[in-house]
Structures are given as C-alpha cells and as structure tokens.
C-alpha cells in the first residue's frame, strides 16, 4: 500500500503546474497526504520554548519512528535538560482514529514506566504550542476531519501558495481538535503548508504555524524546522529537526516498555 502511495505521489508531482489553479481543496489535500515519509526515521528534536516575557528554554530529544503496517510507533528520549535526561515517551498511534493512542512515560528518577492517558488530538504536544495532531501528521492533514475549500492563491515571500480552508465535519471533531477552522497556505512545489492559521472554537485567531525549513534528505522531502506562535498566550515554540536519517533501520524491538525503561 505504501508503495502505491509513493508511486501515486510521483505521478502527481510530475503533473504540469498549470493544473493547480483548477484543483479543488480535496485534491490539494490529497497531494499533501501523498507524500512519502519513509518507513522509519531517526532524528533529534531541539525544542525551543519562549514564554510571553521572551524567556526561552531549550529541550533536546532523540526520536525514532517506524510504521508497523498502518500503525505508527514513536519513541522519544530526552537528553536535555540534564535533570530530565532519560525521560521517555512511547506512543502507539493506531490508524483508526476511533481507537485512542496508547502512551507510556518513563521517569528515570522514579524508575517506573507509567501509562498516561491518551491525549486529545488537539492537546498540546509535550509542553509545546504544537498539538499532538500536528506533530503526528508531519505536515499532512486528516482528510476525514474536514470539509476543504480551495480559496485561490496568495504570494508570500515570492512563492505562490494555494489557500485551503478546512472546517471540521462535526462538532465532535471540532471539540477533539479544539478548532473552528484552519487556513493552510500550501506550496505546490513541495505540497506542504508554509503558513497555517488555526482558529479556536470561539473563532479567535489562536495560532500561526510557519514552516521554516524543508530539505530533501535521503530522497525524502523532510521538514527541518517548524515554528508556532500562540496568539492568545504570547507563548511560542520552535522545533528544529537534527540529524534526520532514513537509512539506518530502526529495530522493531525499540518500541517496547522494557526498551523505554532502559533509556538511550
């Protein structure tokens, strides 16, 4: 199935640019979701958190991700700051959105693995201003969540970006995501949104996410830096992805509780 998607995406990328103007919202989103992100990947996250008074705190992690069929498993180990070094998160993310993710946490000072409650997809990811949904989807969009509408194009930094607005298909989804609508500005060169605006359930402009860095690594189009600002709290987060490696195989055995306990 992944092969089919890959092939499909190549076909799409080969399409002539003139067709873009006539693409519907659904077609644009399909292009985005067609991107191949590799069966497994190893990378470092450098997380920069800035509070409203401008004070910045940095956390560093090493993260591994691997697909098990449709299921996506992720394990993250903190390396900095020193006091939380070895703290780990293990997540099993099931393809069926109806089934809650499983999450475990390891606190080295406690020497215990603890299962933690599944987060809402709209909850903030590990104290950042990104939501779990945004981190998990890696610049893709859950097509079953929204009604998409293409809203023309906009030129930002000399690039012509396609505007797509998404509205949650139901109140439940809106609750789960904590959103009333989203506006993506998609670069058809890479089929990723360069600038995304999120509106909370009251319709207030809640956050703006900016794609700050994209590179092709090991043949895969890869995000290297993302930034998000929360307009309501003045808090912002920047994640820089370091040493992304699609070639070294990530062993299946890594995604287990004993491995979480053993740490890095």
């Amino acid at each position: 199935m992944r092969l089919i998607i890959s092939l499909l995406s190549m076909t799409c990328l080969a399409l002539p640019a003139i067709a873009q103007d006539t693409l519907t919202g659904d077609e644009i989103v399909a292009q985005m979701n067609a991107r191949d992100d590799g069966n497994y990947v190893t990378r470092g996250f450098s997380i920069e958190l800035t509070d409203r008074s401008g004070k910045t705190r940095t956390e560093k992690t090493i993260a591994y991700r691997r697909y098990f069929g449709d299921e996506k498993r992720t394990i993250i180990f903190y390396t900095e700051p020193t006091r939380v070094r070895g703290t780990g998160f293990l997540t099993y993310d099931y393809a069926d959105p109806a089934i809650d993710d499983d999450q475990w946490l390891y606190l080295p000072a406690l020497r215990k693995v603890r299962r933690i409650s599944a987060s809402d997809r709209g909850d903030y990811f590990l104290g950042t201003d990104f939501t779990y949904e945004e981190i998990k989807k890696e610049q893709k969009i859950e097509s079953e969540d929204y009604r998409f509408e293409a809203k023309g194009a906009e030129i930002i930094d000399g690039r012509e970006l396609l505007i797509v607005e998404g509205t949650p298909l139901s109140d439940d989804i809106s609750d789960e995501l904590g959103l009333s609508h989203v506006v993506w500005r998609i670069d058809p060169e890479i089929w990723m949104s360069r600038k995304t605006d999120y509106y909370d359930q009251n319709g207030n402009h809640a956050r703006t996410a900016i794609l700050e860095g994209v590179e092709t690594i090991d043949g895969y189009l890869t995000t290297t830096q993302i930034f998000v600002e929360n307009h309501k709290t003045g808090h912002s987060s920047r994640i820089t992805f370091l040493n992304t490696d699609y070639t070294t195989e990530v062993p299946e055995s890594l995604f287990s509780q004993p491995r979480l306990r053993r740490g890095l």
Partner: protein, 797 residues
C-alpha cells in the same frame, strides 16, 4: 483701613475696565476649561498608592511574571443537598465558562473553573490527566452531564486538596469561575458583560450566581460613583441656589454666584485634565467642595453690596459695588489664603496621588474662585440692568428679617453670658477629646458599597462559602533556573504555607508544591502516602516536566515561571479589612525574614492584600501629621495675615474645635478612619477657617472703632453674622446633599464635613465673641500711641 483708599483705586480701575474684565474672564474660563473633555477617570485601588511603593512594584512584577491580573470572580452557589455537584449546576458552570471565554475583554486561556481545570489521578499502571468536564474521559466513567459524573467530580475534588476551597468551596456549596481581564481599563465593560451573561443563564432552583472580585469591584465602583455624582453635583448646585434665593430674594444674587461657581469648577477640572491628572473616586468630593467654597466668597460680597445699598439707597450702582469690593476684598483674600494653605498642606502631607491631586486642585480652585469673585462678580454686578434692593435689605423691613433676628438673638445670649459659653465649650471639648480617642483606623473597599448592592452581597457570599476572595501573594525567588527542584526549598515553601494557614482569616494557600505532591501521589498509583515532596531533585524536575507534557504549555504559569526559578504562593483571605490585614502582613513579613529566607531562597510578601495594607498603613501613620500640618499652615497664615499671633490663634480655635468634633463623631459612631475619612479633617480645616476669619476680621473692625464690650460686639451679628449664617447654610447644605448619596463614603464625607462646618460656624459666632469680650485682646483694638500697663483689661470709654 489704611489700605482701603489704595485698594479703592485698584477697584475703580478694574470697574472702569469692566467689559475688558468680563472678556478676559470669559477667555480664561474658555482656556482653562478647554481640556475638560480629555479628563480621564481612574477608579482603580492601585491609583491611591504611590507608584514607587515597593509593595506595588512587586505586585506588578508578579502580574508580569505569572500573568496574573485582578480577576472577575463568578460564584455558583447552591446550599442544597448536593451543593454544586449536580448535573444542572455543572452544566451552568460549563456554559458560563464558555460564554465568559468568548468575551473579548477576557483572556480565554486564563479563565479558571471546573470546566477548564484538569484532574490528576494515579492508576495502578499510570497516570491520568483530564478535564473534569471533558467529554472523552478515562478516569471518569459517567458520561458528561450525568449524575454519575457529578458524583465522580465531587469524589475527585475530595482527593485533590489543591482545588479545595479555591476552585470549589470546602463544603461543596460553591464553585468559582475566575476570569482575568486583559486590560484593567475594561473592568467596567467586562463586569457589565459578565452580569449580562449571568442574567441570561438558566439557573437551577436554589442556585445563586454572584459576581465579585477586584476586577468587578473596580468596574462596579466607577459606574456606581459616576451615577451618584452626576445626580449629586447638580443637586448641590440647586440647593445652593435655593439658599442664595432665600438669603437675598434676588435673581441676580442667585445667578451671578453660579457663574463664579461654574467658572471655578470648569477651570479647576479643565486644568486637571490639561495636567494629565486623572479623575479619581474621591475627586467627586472636590466638585461639591469647590461649589461650596466659591459660593461663599460671593455670599459675603453680595451681602456687603446689599447692605451698602440699604444704608444709602441713592448710591450709584457702580459706587456701591466699589464700596462692597473694597470692604470685602480683605476677608475674602484672607479666607482664600488660609484655605489654600490648608489644601496645599493636605497635598504635601499625603503620599496618595488622588489626595495629592485633591489638595492641589482644591487650592487651585480656591484661587480661581477668589479671582473670579473679586473681578468677574463685581463687573457683572455693575452691568446687571437693575439696582433693585432685595426685600431682606429694604430699610424698615430689614430688622424683621428672620436670619438677622436669629443671629442678633444668638449674639445677645452669647454676649450676655460669655463665661457660660466658654464653660460649655470646655465641656464639649473634653467630651470630644474622649470621643476622638475612640477612632480606629480601618478600611474595607467593599464597604464603599451599600450592603444591598449585588457586588457587596457577592463578596460576602463568596467569602462565606470558599477560602476567600482576597489574595495575599508571596513571591519566592531562587538563585538560578531550576532552583525550585531543590526538595529543601519546596519544604520551606510547604512550611511557609502551613504558617500562613495559622494566620487569621486565611482560608487556604496554593503553590507549585501542592501540584508536586499531587503528581508524586499520582505516579505512585494514587497512594495517599505519597502526597509528599519527593526528596530527589531530579524526580521533582521530572514531575514538573510530566505535568507540563500532559497539559497546556502555560498551565503552570500562575504558580511558577518558565525557567522554574520563581514561584508564587497564593493565600486566599476571607476578610478585606485593614484591621485584619494588619494582623497578617507584618506577621508574615517577620516569618519570611526570620525563618524563610536564606542564602539560596528569598521570599517577598505582595499581592492585593499587602498593597492595601501598606496603603492604609500610610493613612494610619500620616493622618495625624497631615491634620497637624494643615492646622499649623492655616494658623500661621492667619497669624501672618492678621499680623498678630493672638488673632491667628483665635482664628484657629473654631477650626480646632471643628476637627476635634468630627473625630469625636467618628469615634462615637464607629466610623473608621480610612481612605476617604482621612481627608475630612483637612478639608474641614479649609472650610472652617473661613467662618473664623470673617468673624474675626469684623470683630477687629468693631474693636478698632467701638471697642470690645458686649454692646459693641453685638454689631457682629446683623450683617457679618447673617452672611456667615447663609454661608453656613449654603456649605452645609451643599455637603449635606452628599448624605443622600448611594455611596457610603460620600455619605460619611457629606455628613462629617457638615458637622465640621456647623461647629466652625457656631464657634465663630459664640465662643469667639465670648472669648474676645472676656479677654479683649489688644490685637483687635485700635493701635494706641501709648499702652497702659493693664491694657488687656482696659475698657475704652
């Protein structure tokens, strides 16, 4: 009298240029009133505090670091069987919360209620962090909106000490929705919007919604006082106009002083706006004050004018005006100078910006009133088309005038038994000293409202069902980022909280330590034995991290700063009274200094309660000084203007009595010395001195021409006495109007100033002449080329 011819020359020239005077005055009124529309209002409590005060600086710093502002607190209270833990009340909390979050004046992420907060609970294999009213939950089995969920929430709160008393009352009869206002200037609009939301809510039977909190009080107070002042200030003008009409039975005597009043008030507030000074809560009192002061000058000048017309009905109008001004410029100037001295002393001795402004613009207003009374008023009198002599001043009829008869009979009684008058005064003085000693210093902001006001009832209801609505904060600072991971530091904070909870009226305390303990328990299968501070700094850091990872990035912002160096300990207090704060703040500061602080960690006591404490403490310490300073300033000015120490002291006597009696009334009736009451004495000084000076100036005039025997002194009463009587009725009436106010401090203000003015008036027409006729001070007699050795008791023939 030697200066009168010279002065007459000046008055002459002024009156010959009367059109120029009128045009110039109009221009000055226009220029000074020009900025009036830009006058801004500041009803915040912080306005009363010196912006440089350390307590305020710390409070602002805490607001910045922890993002805390003065909130609006909405309480849902139900004293029935299940308290607030039933489906209807929880639904109400949820709908109120979401509607309040939608308000544009409110920070939606800083609204705290059962609908926004997370429950933290340990399970055998892990930890659950989820909202109490979330739809999808793991720990809570009952569906949202079910009775089962309501009971589960009650159970969860009972296992979560942090929320007990703060989010939900300890009895379970109340729960709070706390909303922070983005901009304190929007307090009014926010309060109104929240009231609107509450009034549209579907309220279950037996449930009450109350709205309170500093944000609400500030908002409420501004409309409350505004509404009141916009009713009272014109009413004061009406009362004074009626008094003028009664005194003079003349249209011009009712209209012209109002022109002076309007010019004075417009000018003073116009200049206030131009100088960028805000209109504070107490500034409302200044309006009436200026009306009373500016009308007094006019009353004395008009009285003199009509007396001159009566004595010489054929006199030319302009000549009469000239004579009246020449006669009155001296006492009017003297009273203005002494009142200015009183106001300036008030301004100089206060540390509170609103009172400084009150004193300063009061002094300015008096100066403007003086200027207009001696220029504009005479100029307008000369161009007034008629020269009709009003009824009270018609010859033949004059002696029948009630006020004259009244004053003359008072005069006969007083001068017939001066020793009795002095004796009675001594008795009153003694009783007053005793009463004044009973005065206590106290202030409670909520007492600015009548007990029937919703915000007053809300305050009382919330304080009786929760840990309290007043916040006392302690800022804890460590040396470096992550300093709060140190178990020893957290134990210090825990001990500090234990200590605070032993202090009076403290409902409860919260800090990051409570979260750490709850998390520690939760990661240990919810075992209550782990509701402790871990003794491992790494574990503490990881617990912080864990919570941060499970919640919003700003969830902890109210308890700890982002690099975990500073923490806020917040105590909830049930009482806002100064007498209670006085027991809390110094004790806590002593504990912090002697027990808490060490080389690695330092605490500072701050928060609204501390700021209020220091604010009122300033009143506690400075009031006596302020009164003495005003009194001395007024006395010295009187000595200077009379060029006699004895005259100055005599002038000060009615003033001293007036102040003492104001304090005696406060002492006997239990009115505490607070923010507004602390100014009364100083204002009373400024108003009271006028009576003494007018009386004394006239007594001196009589003394110099006729001597100081009782027969001679009776001359004081028909004209000056009468003018003083109407001066008294106008001022007392003007201030008395304030007693019909709906704002309790204004009621007290009006009442007490009326007391002061009455005492000053009565003392000036009784005690003062009695003393003068008994002791016959030389200063009031005509200077003699040769003094006899026993001059003091010498009776001139």
């Amino acid at each position: 009298m030697e200066s009168i011819p010279k002065k007459q020359g000046v008055v002459d020239r002024m009156l010959s240029l009367r059109w120029l005077v009128i045009i110039a005055a109009t221009l000055i009124i226009g220029a000074t009133a020009f900025s009036l529309p830009t006058l801004t209002k500041d009803t915040s409590a912080d306005a009363f505090i010196d912006p440089e005060s350390p307590a305020l600086i710390y409070k602002e710093r805490v607001e910045k670091v922890f993002g805390l502002t003065d909130p609006i607190v909405v309480a849902v209270i139900n004293k029935g069987g299940n308290g607030v833990f039933d489906t209807d009340n929880l639904a109400l909390v949820e709908s109120l919360t979401s509607k309040i979050e939608e308000l544009k004046q409110v920070d939606p992420d800083r609204v705290v209620s059962l609908a926004t907060e997370n429950n933290i609970v340990g399970t055998p294999d892990g930890l659950i962090v989820e909202g109490f009213l979330d739809k999808k939950t793991e720990h809570f089995k009952g569906a949202r909106g079910s009775t089962e969920r309501a009971s589960e929430i009650r159970e969860a709160i009972s296992e979560f000490p942090l929320y007990q008393g703060s989010l939900v009352g300890r009895e379970g009869t109340a729960t709070l929705i706390i909303a922070e206002i983005l901009d304190e200037d929007d307090a009014q609009a926010t309060y109104d919007a929240v009231v609107d939301i509450a009034s549209q809510a579907v309220v279950p039977e037996g449930t009450e919604i109350h709205i309170a909190g500093e944000g609400a009080v500030a908002g409420y107070l501004s409309t409350y006082i505004d509404k009141d002042a916009s009713r009272l200030n014109p009413l004061a003008g009406v009362i004074i106009t009626i008094v003028l009409l009664l005194a003079f039975l003349s249209l011009r005597a009712a209209i012209l002083p109002n022109v002076v009043v309007a010019a004075t008030v417009l000018g003073s507030f116009g200049l206030m706006a131009a100088s960028g000074t805000s209109f504070y809560v107490i500034t409302n009192g200044l309006v009436v004050n200026l009306i009373g002061i500016s009308v007094a000058d006019s009353i004395h000048i008009l009285s003199a004018y009509y007396s001159i017309l009566r004595d010489d009905p054929d006199i030319d109008k302009k000549a009469a005006v000239k004579l009246a001004v020449s006669k009155m410029w001296r006492p009017v100037t003297l009273t203005s100078l002494t009142t200015i001295a009183g106001f300036l002393a008030l301004s100089a001795s206060s540390t509170m910006p609103p009172i400084q402004a009150f004193g300063l613009f009061g002094a300015l207003g008096v100066a403007l009133a003086w200027m207009y009374s001696l220029t504009l008023l005479p100029a307008l009198l000369t161009i007034w088309p008629t020269k009709r002599i009003p009824l009270p001043f018609k010859s033949g009829l004059t002696r029948a005038s009630f006020s004259e008869r009244l004053m003359t009979s008072i005069g006969r009684t007083v001068l017939g038994a001066p020793k009795v008058v002095v004796g009675l005064s001594v008795v009153i003085l003694t009783v007053a000293v005793f009463g004044a000693m009973q005065v206590v210093v106290d202030e409670d902001r909520i007492e600015n409202f009548r007990p029937t006001e919703p915000v007053y009832m809300a305050d009382k209801a919330i304080n009786s069902t929760t840990d309290g609505i007043y916040n006392l904060d302690i800022l804890v600072e460590t040396q470096s980022a992550g300093g709060l991971y140190d178990p020893e530091t957290l134990q210090r904070i825990e001990a500090l909280q234990d200590y605070i909870e032993t202090l009076p009226s403290v409902g409860g305390t919260t800090s990051i330590v409570d979260y750490v303990k709850q998390l520690h328990r939760s990661v240990n299968d919810g075992d209550a034995a782990f509701y402790t501070i871990p003794d491992n700094a790494d574990l503490i850091a990881q617990l912080f991290f864990l919570y941060g990872a499970s919640a919003d990035p700003t969830d902890f912002e109210e308890e700890i700063d982002s690099d975990h160096r500073q923490a806020l300990v917040r105590a909830q207090i049930k009482e806002g009274r100064y007498t209670n704060n006085k027991l809390l703040v110094p004790a806590l500061e002593k504990y912090v200094k002697d027990v808490f602080n060490n080389e690695t960690v330092k605490a500072t006591v701050t928060g609204r309660v501390t700021v209020s404490y220091y604010w009122i403490q300033g009143i506690d310490q400075s009031t006596l000084f302020s009164i003495l300073l005003s009194f001395v300033a007024v006395t010295l000015t009187a000595m200077l203007v009379f060029r006699s120490a004895i005259s100055g002291l005599l002038a000060a006597l009615p003033v001293g009595l007036a102040i003492l009696l104001v304090y005696a009334v406060m002492g006997f009736t239990g009115i505490p010395l607070g923010v507004s009451t602390s100014m009364f004495a100083a204002i009373a000084i400024g108003l009271s001195i006028d009576f003494a000076i007018h009386a004394l100036d006239r007594l001196r005039e009589i003394g110099r021409t006729k001597g100081l025997d009782a027969d001679a002194l009776i001359d004081l009463y028909p004209e000056t006495g009468r003018a003083l009587f109407f001066n008294f009725v106008a001022v007392a009436g003007g201030f008395g109007v304030l007693m019909t106010s709906e704002v309790p401090p204004l009621v007290k203000f009006g009442g007490l100033v009326a007391v002061a003015v009455s005492v000053a008036f009565l003392a000036s027409v009784t005690l003062l002449p009695a003393l003068v006729t008994l002791f016959k001070p030389r200063a009031l007699l005509a200077p003699k080329p040769k003094e006899k050795p026993n001059a003091f008791n010498h009776k001139p023939t």
